[in-house]
Amino acid sequence: MPESAPESALDEAAEQPRLPALTRVLTSPPGRVLLPLVALAGLILLHDRSLPGGGPIDIYLLGLLIAFIAVIVWIPRFGVGLLRSDGRPRLLRHWARWAAAPVMGLAVAGLVYFDVPFTARFALSEASLERVARAVATGSEPESGDGWVGLYPVTSIERIEDGARFLVSDTGFLDEYGFAWSPKGPPTEESRTVYTHMDGPWYLWESRW
């Protein structure tokens, strides 16, 4: 089926090798650079929100910066393409590539809004955390040094009254965060320590700076 004249005209012109690369990029649909960058920003933000208290602040700011750049680049490219008669046919033709970035953005925003990353990561790790917590609470010597329990990188595991607590590495900005397992009620609070009940015997442990 032959393409419409304006569409093929702009496509041919946009694909001319003598066009400057930047001009070609600005008049083309999002592709090999912008879409992976949006996906990377989304993964960084989802990873950050999956950790108690958030992940490393520098990685989080990098994710926000990438997302900001993607928005600043995507909106004008889409807006000008929509406003120009020689751009609209290409928006329709490559609609999936144009829709991919906002769909990814909305998906990440929705998952973060409903706290899905944190809930899912904790649910997938709960059995492993509880197994280690029970062992530590009944007298086993906790492993020293960094390691993984479930899907969490853990810096330290300590025995507390009738339970155990895990400090998750690279969390928070100045404060540190982790989990406490205390089946007989809230753990005894110490100075600069706050426990927030999550579910069942689990508490969010915040170790303040």
């Binding site: 702009l10 012109a13 001319q16 930047l22 600005l26 008049t27």
Partner: protein, 83 residues
């Protein structure tokens, strides 16, 4: 439509320029202005890029168009003027 001056690269550089003052100025000044400047500059860059593509296309079409017919009354090449 008014042709956007400058080159797309110039406008993209302007769009990225708010990053520099953002490193030194308080956020209350940078946040309202920086994204607006960046968005406006990117709109200018993309508009100018579309205009460049349209101009190149028009130039190509003029170059590829057949020669216009000569003045009326002149005989077409290859034909005889006599009846």
């Amino acid at each position: 439509m008014v042709r956007v001056p400058g080159e797309p690269g110039l406008w993209v550089a302007l769009a990225a320029s708010p990053v520099l003052p953002a490193l030194f100025l308080p956020g209350k000044y940078v946040w309202p202005v920086g994204p607006l400047v960046a968005l406006a500059a990117m709109f200018a860059a993309v508009t100018r890029a579309y205009q460049d593509v349209a101009l190149i296309r028009a130039t190509q079409e003029r170059a590829e168009a057949p020669e216009p017919p000569g003045p009326s009354g002149s005989p077409p090449p290859g034909s005889s003027a006599s009846p």
